[in-house]
Amino acid sequence: MPSILERIKEFGRSLRILVRREKFARELEEEMRLHKEMKERELIAAGVTKEEAPFTASRQFGNTTYLRERGREIWGWTWLEEFWQDARFSLRVFAKNPGFSGTVVLMLALGIGANTAIFSVVNAVLLRPLPYKDADKLVTVWGCDRPKGFDTDLVSNPDFRDWKSQNHVFENIAASTDAMYTMTGAGEPAAIIAYQFSPEFFDVMGVVPKLGRTFLPDETEPGRNHVLILSDHLWRERFGGDRSVVGRSVKLDGDPYTVVGVMPPSFQYPSTTELWTPLTISPQSANDRGLRYLRVMARMRPGVTMEQARKEMNVIAARLKSAYPDTNKDQDVNLVGLRQLTTGDIRTALLILLCTVSLVLLIACANVANLLLSRAVTRRKEIAVRVALGASRMRVIRQLLTESVLLGLAGGALGVVLAYLSADALVALFPPTIANLSIPHIEHIPMDAGVLGLALLASLLTGAAFGLVPALEASRMSPNQSLKEGGRSETSSSRGRQVRNALVVSEVALSLILLIAAGLMIKSFRYLIGGDMGFQPNGVLSLRVLLPEYRYKTESQQRAFGNELVERTRALPGVEWVGTVTFLPLSGWWGTRQVSPGRGTADAQTPTAIWSSVTPDYFRALGIPLLEGRSFNEQDNTGNMPVVILSAKLARQLWPNEDPIGKTVNVEGLKEPRNVAGVVGEIRDFGPAGEQRPEVYLPFAQVPSALICVVIRTAAEPATLAAAAQHAVWSVDKEQAMSFVMSMDKLAAESLAPQRASMILIAIFAGLALVLATLGIYGVISYSARQRTREIGIRIALGADSWGVLRLVMAEGLVLTIAGSAIGLIGALWLTRYLSSLLYGVRPSDPLTFVTVAWILSTVALLASYVPARRAMRADPVAALRHE
């Protein structure tokens, strides 16, 4: 066995021959000439005549051309030389038919471009490694309360402590909780979303700051915990990217904090956070198992799988259940991978899109294959001549495949350009401002080696796929036959026609499937847009204010601010109703409390509701209907009886068959029992695609909150009121920060971003498929009509009327369309169920969509065959008979 080194040397030698192959060929020839001459002389010496000698020598020597080529084959570069020949020849062929080549390249570019674009998004969102060390070892650990339907619930500190000390599956485990600060001392007062991290959190995630350090172990203690780490974004925006920022003092909620570090831009976890402070466990929360407020992240030990970790954590949970039945009776543990957590809302949509674009590419392939097949017939003579001159079948196939692969590559190159140009539009479909969805922040979609590699692979595979059938088909015929036919190459084999028809039928079927998918998506999206969220978002401006604890220490201060703000805002021109709410619907922020009927205490059956403190006009401002009883009013203050308003759903859960008005409820966290004053309609807090959750409303005057979201209903365009509303806040407190000043319409639209994006993209791709399929039908029918010119001429000459001809030609298109549609409908019935997680208010087998789409496709297909049929109908019989 030759060693690797010898192999390399050998390759070097043949490479040298490749580079100087003309010289080597000349030398070989000279060598053989010498040989022949010597042979001649030998023959003469042996008695052969001088005249005979050269011929005898030649005979003995054999075919010199063949020998020369054998010599070249031994150099091992024949394939390359032949490929080069084929490539040059192909380019000449393309240049002679620019229309044909252009059409093919454009079709492929659309197909491959769509695939590249979608794959680049998939790559950016789902495939690129998360910017953390061994990110697949990172899991988020949640509480899981099945009876209540919580699968990613927050965790109490004692539970966390026990998880940490008892598990053997995690290398490290850390806790965090969200926080909001008012930052002063660096520009305008700003409400900053922050996270409190336990110091080991950064170690768990395996990140290091780009400036300064992370938290020290003792920086969780009160008195030492006034340190913070900036995100790259906040550092650039508020501190101008100042590298000497470490050590600087910044005021959070009025207290001085020292900047100890700045994280790199790649570290943005959780994605909305602007800065991090140390997590200090307060004495109250330290041992309260019912107080669940921590988010937990862990790094699995090497070799431990998610399943093993989940199993062991639930063993620990089971222990805690029996030890603390009061609080932990139903508490299991759920593990969610980090990637899954950050891409949950978008993953399915992206995978479905990926399938969609590959179908588009298949259609494009079928189309191009058809074009090549029709053209192969016109190239029959050329191929026949080649075969007659000694080209092997393999060689002919190789030549034709080279052509199609080159077309594929050209299409791929153009496709990559198209994908690159569309990247910005794709980013715009997934706006990074969305705070209420788990969509990863995509700042840009990179065209990295993976994406380009896939585009290349797609181009090569497509080239081979659409080229193979025509190449096999073309190389199959006998040269004798073709040459005999001379110029009359019109009689197409029935086999060729079958292949072409099969391709068109599959195109029609595939595009019907895509069109039905698009139809369902559009219908579902219209349902969502028109969908009733239980409130009227149009004409409403919202803004969010968080009163910092250091300046609003007491409830009465919060109450005074809220009332004052409502008064000032109501005085603004054009304002109809003003209300405030703790957790604004669609904001992605919410809080829950258990609500139990009567004076009983909460147990596992007690419903958990989303709660909010609202001012009296809130329901009118947002347009939530009052169903029973009364709304809150000015009298519902601290001096009067504690009241509560329930959503219809919660009321039904508490008293399925009784009138709730006047009944008493206990709301978790509030001491006094409260009287039900009214029942309002249910709303969808999380947008039209979200579910209705039970809601409990408290009067702001009785239960004020530090978080105040203002909703302003106006007759004017809400955005025009933004500046005035902001000044209203500052007129109450000039140091108060606010955020998310935006119309409810915009919030509603953003909450539908993934649905909108997938609807738009699927619709575009289905449209593309329709165009391609139409072109396919048109191509096949006009080709077949041209083939039948003579037949049609005879028919007309024998007295067929033009309608007969029209019917004759269109019947062919009709048969293909019907066959394709039938297969497509069956395929769609089978495939659209995978869409169901993206569909709202429409079944995957929605008959109306199926029928409408099939009708549209058939109409378009008939039109596509009408054009060539008309041409055939108008044919002059004399010209038609002379045709050929």
Binding site: E30, L34, F61, G62, R70, G71, E73, W75
Partner: protein, 109 residues
Amino acid sequence: MQRDEIPPGTLYLLILRTLARSGEMHGYEIARSIQQLSKDVLQVQEGSLYPALQRMLIKGWVKAEWGVTTENRRARYYRLTAAGKRQLEVELSQFERVIGAVQRVLQTV
């Protein structure tokens, strides 16, 4: 005159052996030499000789240099390389093994 084809696989061996004995030869001389030494029994087809020489060049078993014949004609002379000498040993032992085996088969009564 009965002329036999060269058994497959032995052409390399014959060329290597011929070159090992005489040092430097051009293609015609190699063919002649094999033919004469075999008493005209082995006939080297030119159609096999030159491809074989090309392949041996790439394998690095022989080196070729242009020289001049005694009659002052330009000719390409082949010469064994160190690798070629090693290859000769390999091919020889392989050949002997095969021939030995064949003989054993034939001699078994």
